[in-house]
Amino acid sequence: MSAVSQAHVEDHSHDHHHEQTFIEKYIFSTDHKMIAKQYLITGLIMGFIGIAMSLLFRIQLAWPEKSFWIFEALLGRFGSDGVMDPGVYLALVTIHGTIMVFFVLTAGLSGTFSNLLIPLQIGARDMASGFLNMVSYWLFFISSVIMLSSLFVESGPASAGWTVYPPLSALPEAISGSGMGMTLWLISMAIFIASSLLGSLNYIVTVLNLRTEGMSMTRLPLTVWAFFVTAIIGTVSFPVLLSAALLLIMDRSFGTSFFLSDIYIQGEVLSHQGGSPVLYEHLFWFLGHPEVYIVLLPALGITSEVIATNARKPIFGYRAMVASILAIAFLSTIVWGHHMFVSGMNPFLGSVFTFTTLLIAIPSAVKAFNYITTLWKGNLQMNPGMLFSIGLVSTFITGGLTGIILGDSTLDINVHDTYFVVAHFHLVMGISALYGLFAGVYHWFPKMFGRMMNKNLGYVHFWITAVGAYGVFFPMHFIGMAGLPRRYYTNTAFPYFDDLADVNVLITLFAFLTAFAQLFFIYNFIHSIFYGKKASQNPWRANTLEWTAPVEHIHGNWYGELPKVYRWSYDYSKMNKEETDYVIPGQDFIPQNVPLHDNEEELNH
């Protein structure tokens, strides 16, 4: 099957001059490179909205119940007299979480780079199914539009937290956001899941079937390994979220009782009987936890590639890296219970989940150490992408370490749902994955748009972001350990928290600094698309196949025949047998399509 389609595309590539209409080329495109750009730009727009929301609620947290014109301007009647309404605070928190986790870090990150890099790095003309790929993007687009439209319904958007635990999310009587807003949230997520599944299946099939000649699995760049395994985790876990969402829709609209039982609200006993919210929690976190790795693995894959290229060294421990990705993927599906230690589930299960959770720290530690060793004795090229990759390793360690506290059922008792958790996951999956996204954008921008981004703006962007992100999230651990719960509209109801107020102000100021730094990125991104310096074919002197493809985008990626692969992608600074010079004299990299030389040692790849 794959061979047939391949041959077909090859024929096709000879007459690549057929005219594409504007709609075919830019809107309903089936070309993976265009779809990647569509994902990226949609994801960035969603990210802009998500971050803007976080600034709004950070203002409220720093100066609770004070009046700000911006609330009145943006929130309308939910911010009358400039004071934020408690309901809209919860809505902002909810939608911020949903947008950032799913729309930015799942679709924006995975969708962009899986689409761009899988075919280019494995030497394929396109995805296995260009049509499904297009459908996947447009479903994502529709779900984004629905999610954003929920901001404008009269009763407000979903506001039960991004985990939308029932009964709160099921009963409009409990919170007004659980009316129309919640319905739209569920519809949007259902469509999103369909989009994600179509994408994932496509990635899996493409990686398995369309690798070019010589591209064995052990020669795949770690990016492709990461995208491939991410797609597998997504395929395994997203359907479970879909079923949770469907059951919740039924409970809400069709009177079933999967998650509801014994509820008395607004003077009435509901007829629901026999369901359990804990069941929902299990279903949700069966996706929710792998989701963390769906977000993180692509970022780590990008980092592996960017660090190796810019360190001019092979990634240290390639096989261990692949094994870690696989181990993380497997373990990620059996740790979901660590979100539920105090949910009322059997404490024995808590012990089991503690065990599996702390196991996952091992492959994570191996990855971190391997990155550090890759830097050791390198010749580090400090391009913006490299800085973001190093930043990722830093935040991944900082955020990952506190996971040892949260993953321990005993310790979780008192920090569960406090700001300690918020600090932990923002560092380990939020900031880290965003750094991965930025690293990818800076590194593959020449591949996407044929132009370079401005490096100096990139440096400014990185350093302000790095300072700001730690400034926000490091102090946040401490207010969490003081017992400050998350999702509180204001902490003033407890005089006990009064002495935490100045920490909250500090965090908000750093949040503004961090958001401010993103303006440099936006400017650089848009400006460089049109006026950036024209890129050469292989600006970073990298080994992977995408840099053997021409700068201009053509249907089918390569003119003529597909490149053949003779080696793994990490032959950086490889010396000849006599140790006198690089294998190719004067050039410290050997692209994958260069046959083995006589005077080099063969590796097991």
């Binding site: 700000f68 009964p167 709160l168 919170i175 509801l260 039982s261 014994d262 509820i263 008395y264 609200i265 026999g274 919210p277 804990v278 092979p314 990634i315 421990g317 261990a320 009322g344 503690t354 196991l359 091992i362 530690a365 191996v366 150490f369 550090i372 060793t373 390198g378 010749n379 580090l380 090229q381 400090m382 190093i390 830093s394 506290i405 321990d408 059922s409 008792i413 008192n414 569960h416 749902d417 401005n454 490096k455 100096n456 440096y459 300072v467 400034g471 490091f474 651990h477 350990m481 003081a482 017992g483 109801a493 407890f494 006990y496 107020a501 950036g532 310096k533 990490y570 600074s573 010396m575």
Partner: protein
């Protein structure tokens, strides 16, 4: 405040454009190559900034620990809490050792091996021994933490129930708490939301003989040094009963009864007189003195234990709390005997 914010926003925007234009100029020197790929000079500068950033990061960590460690909760007021805190401090200790060590390596290498013209990277693809070492070290350390944690966990989650154990139901609804004591018969009367009617807010079954002597209150009193078993029930949505000072938390789930037990060890009076609390309360009162929106009574805060809701439950989630008083057994008994029983409540 508004004006202040507008000024800040305008100023920041101004600075933005100024900086962007400045950087653009800087990025376009007439002679240098503008390939936008890091050159020797960039590598050098960025490598040094990496080192400066490491210093910033360590200072931030030191500052946070120096200034914010005191925000950690006071010594645990429940028996299992000492064990909890010990495990917490061991974990934080290990984490910080690893953190300081690995971040130093990461940033130091980034500085030390910053690209230079003519520098050759070492082709170093594998080392089984090294990888084995950094697999096995986390395994051993984590195994220790897991075992410690699991022993504590099973002790905390399976508290010994004796004749003496006080059984208390904690009842949650949007947006308040109630506590129900079992009374002299030491058995809570049956309850279900379907019995809720009029003053019977908790839906206690009137026909159950065990219910008559139950006592329902909105302030939780606990006798010191006596084990308490809480049974949690929710009327509407998920809540979470969080007792930070007792290192205790359990979700409150509609449709099921969840449990958590602990033994309070410090009375309210005792904890108020600890150095920690005297300091903390005086700091808080200093802050409150400055606030104009408070009346005189509110400005004079006195510490009380509290129970708060820690699972998003609706618009007033942030203010769902109940006062807890830990007192001597005699005081507790006296207080309890003054409360109205469920039977009296229904007959009035």
């Amino acid at each position: 405040m508004t004006v202040f914010l507008i000024i800040i926003v305008v100023a920041l925007l101004g600075v933005t454009f100024w900086q962007i234009s400045k950087i653009l100029e800087l990025s376009k020197p007439a002679d240098a190559d503008d390939s936008q790929i890091a050159d020797n000079k960039d590598n050098n500068t960025q490598g040094k900034i990496m080192l400066a950033f490491m210093v910033f990061f360590y200072l931030l960590m030191a500052y946070s620990f120096w200034n914010y460690s005191k925000l950690y909760l006071p010594e645990a007021a429940a028996e299992h809490g000492a064990d909890y805190d010990r495990l917490m401090f061991i974990s934080i200790g290990i984490i910080m050792v690893v953190q300081v060590f690995t971040q130093a390596l990461l940033h130091w290498f980034s500085y030390k091996y910053r690209g230079k013209k003519g520098q050759k990277a070492l082709f170093y693809a594998d080392n089984d021994k090294l990888e084995f070492i950094w697999t096995i070290i986390p395994v051993v350390v984590l195994a220790g933490l897991i075992i410690y944690g699991l022993f504590s966990w099973s002790e905390i989650m399976n508290p010994e129930e004796t004749e003496d154990t006080l059984v208390v139901e904690i009842y949650a609804y949007q947006f308040d708490w109630r506590a129900r004591y079992s009374g002299e018969d030491k058995t809570l009367g049956k309850a279900n939301v379907r019995f809720i009617e009029g003053v019977n807010q908790l839906g206690v079954d009137e026909s159950d003989p065990y219910a008559a002597d139950d006592v329902i209150v909105n302030e939780l009193h606990l006798p010191v040094n006596r084990s308490v078993l809480f049974k949690f029930r929710s009327q509407d949505v998920l809540h979470s009963a969080y007792f930070p000072h007792f290192r205790a938390q359990m979700n409150v789930v509609p449709g099921m009864v969840t449990e958590f037990g602990f033994t309070p060890t410090t009375t309210t009076k005792e904890i108020r007189n600890t150095d920690y609390m005297v300091d903390k309360v005086s700091t808080i009162n200093d802050i409150r003195k400055e606030r104009e929106d408070l009346d005189d009574e509110e400005k004079n805060y006195e510490f009380e234990y509290y129970l708060l809701c820690n699972k998003i439950c609706g618009v007033s989630h942030y203010n769902m709390q109940m006062k807890i008083v830990v007192e001597e057994e005699e005081e507790f008994q006296e207080w309890l005997s003054e409360q109205q029983t469920f039977g009296e409540l229904m007959n009035n």
